[in-house]
Amino acid sequence: MPEPLIKAENIKKYFPVKKGLIGGTEYVRAVDDVSLEIGEKTITALVGESGSGKTTLGRIMAGIWRPTSGRVLYRGIDIHRDGMRREVRHRIQMIFQNPDSSLNPRMKILDILGEAITEAEPGIKKDELIERATKLLEEVNLHPDHLYKYPHELSGGEKQRVAIARAIALEPEFIVADEPVSALDISIRAQIINLLARIQREHGIAILYIAHDLRTVWNISDYVAVMYLGKIMEYGPTEEVFKNTGHPYTATLLSTAPLLPEEFRRHSLKPIGEPPSLINPPRGCRFHTRCPLAREECREVDMRLIEIGREHYTACPFWR
């Protein structure tokens, strides 16, 4: 992997929850000691189901949430240390699943983009600002007429294009895209994924692409990290993870994708039952309660990532 642009080190994020009437506090361990490196100009997919902690980790790596412990380094700078954040704020951007909650409904698209443009360049002249905003819309294939519209006059796909335009206005080096196409219709999804891939290429941006849709992950990512209950289960180059799968949990995910080309379909593993609670996650391997291949040791041994190939790691010592 190229020299990492962003490095998350031993990130933990615990959310407190009240324990019944008698009081006392328990913690939801949304992310539990996760490290992840993202190289310049690469797309890393972060895959997992609800409760896996993928969104929490994404927000921490975007600098939106603080970790309970651990740190995130951007070119060696701790992005959560006081006073440091401003230096990197423009370099790191986030795109959310639902553009309705991230675009202010009372602002015209020009003003939404204008906010970002003036943040990068305070005191920019009005006509220059309009020119820049028009260029941004062109980059995301939207007509300049859209500048004078409000978000509600746009379709879901168009709103997501505006969100992408706003994200690139500050010329970032790193974008966290949290399920950017999950809420869109299937015929629109491909348009947005192609757009993200093009923007990434042309601007040389690194992307953390958070998703559960294996099809788009297979299409655009260079690396994949698979999360389950706050831990990374497997990490590696996308082709390696799909073809030489190193963890039973990854295999159960791949088993739910029947249209995967033949060369991948080596698995038909089904997980057992429901995911356990994050408040008292299982000891040993987090996946052992649902793993169809679990052994006695899996209940006790705390799993660590082990290297099984070039840049390819798994938290399962028994499978393969």
């Binding site: 491909a190 294996l214 297979w218 299409n219 997980p271 995911p275």
Partner: protein, 321 residues
């Protein structure tokens, strides 16, 4: 005689901005024990279609025209009372979000038991054994304890199992499923799908399975119907449609679910049509890669190609009908 026959169904919504033609002249039939997948994007009319079959279209929506023949009776001509007798007993429905239909302050056992009370007059407390059996059948873990639970104590997947138990309780002939697994994680989704197919095999109930997820429908449905802009685009055997889609829109959908690596995904430019002001001629023509001049002028009929019905002028000549 088919179990269900829908003929030229039209369901419109009267809104201040105008009339939305959500379902605009749709016909299809369903055999006993058959699973029909209905695919379409948002605004295709697939959910309205489902709701209209069990008489759940509420103002400002109204059924404008057509017939819904279930076991020889036109459901659109029945009284509300007659319809209520069929709904929940002969025809049941499972919705995307169980939270909308489960009462948060009632224990699961009572809610499921109410199905027996409403249709068989058995008091919920006396039906508890039946309820436990039913919950076991949908493989809810620990059913004896679960009857005492409240909905919030159950996960999304477990709640959907409860909804399915209510839908199968009285051994219906038809179950309508409106995106039943769309809110669930993929691994849970896979289990629910397996359960549904098992229920079909056991009860012999026919199913109308509505989803935007064509890959999922490909796994479960015997036949597939594709909708676009309130119209039927193509209907036929699922395998045939996957192998050789006829309509350009179906083809685009099938292409969209293929796995391609590091190259542009095949796209369909533009956006789904407005149902307030649908495009003239074929509703798909503004986005169609194969459009001809006539497509914006002439509304396509439905043409029979082999055992498939397709609504596209490309097949006007080929048609067997």
């Amino acid at each position: 005689m088919p179990l269900l026959e829908v003929r030229n169904l039209k369901v419109y919504y009267d809104l201040p901005q105008g009339t939305v033609k959500a379902v605009d002249g749709v016909s299809f039939s369903l055999e006993k024990g058959e699973i029909l997948g209905v695919a379409g994007e948002s605004g295709s009319g697939k959910s309205t279609l489902a709701h209209s079959i069990i008489g759940l279209v509420k103002p400002p929506g109204r059924v404008v025209d057509g017939e819904i023949i279930f076991e020889g009776r036109n459901l659109l001509e029945l009284s509300e009372e007659e319809l209520r007798e069929i709904r929940g007993r002969e025809i049941t429905m499972v919705f995307q979000d169980p939270n909308t239909y489960l009462n948060p302050v009632l224990r699961i056992g009572i809610q499921v038991g109410e199905v027996y009370e409403a249709h068989l007059g058995i008091e919920p407390r006396k039906a508890i054994d039946k309820v436990v059996d039913l919950l076991r059948k949908v493989r809810l873990t620990d059913p004896e304890r679960r009857v005492e639970s409240y909905p919030h104590e159950l996960s999304g997947g477990m709640k959907q199992r409860v909804m399915i138990s209510m839908a199968i309780a009285l051994k219906p002939k038809l179950i309508i499923l409106d995106e039943p697994t769309s809110a669930l994680d993929v691994t849970i989704q896979a289990e629910i799908m397996e359960l549904l197919i098992e229920m079909r095999d056991e009860l012999g109930a026919a199913m109308i399975f509505i989803s935007h997820d064509l890959e999922l429908l490909g796994q479960v449905s015997d036949r597939l119907m594709i909708m676009y802009g309130g119209r039927l685009v193509e209907i036929g055997e699922t395998e045939e449609i996957f192998r050789d889609p006829l309509h350009p829109y179906t083809e685009a959908l099938i292409n969209a679910i293929k796995y391609v690596r590091k190259t542009e995904l095949p796209t369909l430019e533009g956006e789904p049509p407005s149902l307030l002001k649908p495009p003239p001629g074929c509703r798909f023509h503004p986005r169609c890669p194969k459009r001809m001049e006539r497509c914006s002028q002439v509304e396509p009929g439905e043409y029979l190609v082999g055992s498939r019905r397709v609504s596209c002028l490309l097949y006007e000549e080929e048609s067997d009908a």
